[in-house]
Amino acid sequence: MSAKLQKRIVTILFNLIVGFGGLLMATPLVWMLSASLKPTSEIYRFPPTLIPEQFTLASYERLFSDWPFAAWYVNSLVVAVVTTLAVLFFSSLAGFGFAKYRFKGNRVLFMIVLASTMIPFQLILVPLFIVMSRLSWTNSYYALIIPFMAPAVSIFLMRQFISSIPSELMESARIDGATEFGIYWRIIVPLARPAFAALAILTFLGSWNSFLWPLSVLRQQTAMTLPVGMASMLGGVTAGSEAPIGASMAGATLITIPVIIVFIAVQKHYIAGLTAASIKG
């Protein structure tokens, strides 16, 4: 066998293996989407049909009529959007303060922030839950948003990025009579756009997919976010209380597919942001 032919065969085999793995990874999501568009009897068929033979939106209708799915969607969206905006504002402001000013306590305070990234959320789960109960914030947006508006990692990320913005820009703005907040708003914010984009995606996804905390503070069905609501569809101890498989798949589709579409659109930036956040934060 010639070396060239051998190389060709290796290339083809290699691509087949990677392709097979890729299809395997896609299977759960493809199955989910497909199952959400079929009648129940067709879902259980083996081998499964990829394109539904009997195309139907009944599962989606059921999802919206039998569960407050629309309310869950609104809750999740509001919480994720508000949390993201607040995180962007507070952490860029604080990151700016830490990066561009020398003040008493700068180092110590920043070290506290840095050290706190070692504390796992589970440690404060119970005390934070008690605080929320005392404030009567359970079942409300407050509990889902306010404690998460200032994550330490975000400050770290913003400080790193803002440090790389030249201080001369600030000084010339000061000569032109800009206030300190004006410098933040007119110089730092526009120049820090890449950091804002990366942080926004990470924060939004973290909030959108968050489960442990919302599960802890949400009991009322209409107050639930998507993941908590979806989990409640699985039912409790009694058999038969579980939602029909089609409705569950329709719900799972509506949570994941929009996010994946956005992911495909911004794939390169997202991956870059992820590596930057991890290596630095």
Binding site: T11, F14, I17, G19, G21, G22, P28, L29, W31, F46, P47, F90, S91, L93, A94, F96, G97, Y101, R102, F103, L109, M118, P120, Q122, L123, I124, L125, V126, P127, I130, V131, P147, M149, A150, A152, I155, S167, R174, T179, E180, L215, S216, L226, P227, M230, A231, M233, L234, S248, M249, A252, I255, T256, F263, Y270, I271, L274, T275, S278, I279
Partner: protein
């Protein structure tokens, strides 16, 4: 303990200030107080909802308190009980299994995946990257619900497939010997892509000239892997392994949804994780002190691993 306490601490941050370091000042103290104004919104929230609960958790671990009435000082009894608690012991064992599996199976798999996605001979790179990396952004709850169906004993896709090739079906979510693997199956799907992203970044920073030089010296693929790839990736491998350990110690969503709220630990608690146990004791049974003790033990484990991570990150910056 009142909630307002940390707030006063936050205010005391605005104490006497040194003038900023020779930079132009806006006159009436603008630049002096500005940094405190900038960092205080963050610090108020940080104190109220992070540092205060952290201190609260440390104290709670020494009390017996169910939210009503006076907390009873319990000395170390919460911890003593934990040491004799068979369910906690089971949860620790399961979590150690999850951690080991993640380190020794999922991490190498992710490295292989990254190498494959980085290979020059791969066609349609972007397509495969999208397929392999898409799980990173998906909701664990949604995907766990899908996997719950795929794992179904009677008509799940996995058992149908096993039967079609003549194997016996497995009761993935009902057999105590199988449930940990069911959880790990989902975690493999969720994590390999994420870890591969880090490995891929590491691989791309290895200069091609290293490989070329090795090839000229007659090194084959396996030698190049062990003498160039692995040593060059060492910091990334260490970093990823810490992320994996911390992540595995915090596993909650996957088993919680796979097994459902009826028996969230799976049959005989064979899939119960430490965080699930913390949740069921603290939020379910309102055993605040006991759950906080679990939290503290988890924190110590994670703290030690995070210290390692900091050491490694320092190595990165050099």
């Amino acid at each position: 303990m009142s909630v307002s306490q940390p707030a006063s601490q936050a205010e005391s941050v605005q104490a006497p200030v040194q003038p900023s370091d020779g930079r132009l000042s806006t006159g009436a103290g603008g630049a002096r107080f500005a940094p405190y104004m900038f960092i205080s919104p963050f610090f108020i929230i940080f104190f109220l909802f992070f540092l205060f609960p952290t201190a609260f958790a440390l104290v709670l671990g020494f009390f017996n308190w169910r939210g009503l009435g006076q907390p009873e000082f319990f000395e170390l009894r919460n911890y003593e009980r934990l040491m004799r608690d068979p369910i906690f012991f089971q949860a620790v064992q399961n979590t150690v299994f999850y951690t080991g599996f993640s380190l020794f199976i999922i991490m190498p798999l992710a490295l292989l995946e990254a190498m494959a996605l980085n290979a020059k001979i791969l066609w349609f790179k972007t397509l495969w990257r999208i397929l392999y990396f898409a799980p990173i952004v998906t909701s664990t709850v949604a995907v766990a619900i899908v996997f719950r169906m795929l794992y179904n004993r009677e008509f799940g896709l996995i058992n149908e497939f096993l039967m079609s090739i003549g194997l016996t079906p497995v009761d993935w979510l009902g057999d105590p010997n199988a449930v940990k693997f069911a959880v790990m199956g989902l975690v493999v799907w969720r994590w390999t892509g994420l870890l591969a992203v880090y490995f891929l970044a590491g691989l791309q920073s290895i200069p091609d000239t290293l490989y070329e030089a090795a090839s000229i010296d007659g090194a084959n693929g396996i030698q190049r892997f062990f003498y160039i790839t692995i040593p060059s990736l060492r910091p990334v491998i260490l970093f990823v392994s810490v992320i994996v350990m911390i992540g595995a110690l915090q596993i909650f969503d996957d088993p919680q949804v796979l097994f459902g709220s009826g028996s969230p630990g799976g049959p005989a608690n064979a899939g119960l994780s430490i965080v699930q146990y913390l949740y069921s004791r603290g939020i379910g049974d309102l055993l605040y002190g006991y759950a906080s003790a679990v939290g503290l033990l988890l924190f110590i484990g994670i703290f030690v691993l995070s210290l390692v991570q900091f050491r490694l990150l320092r190595g990165f910056e050099d």
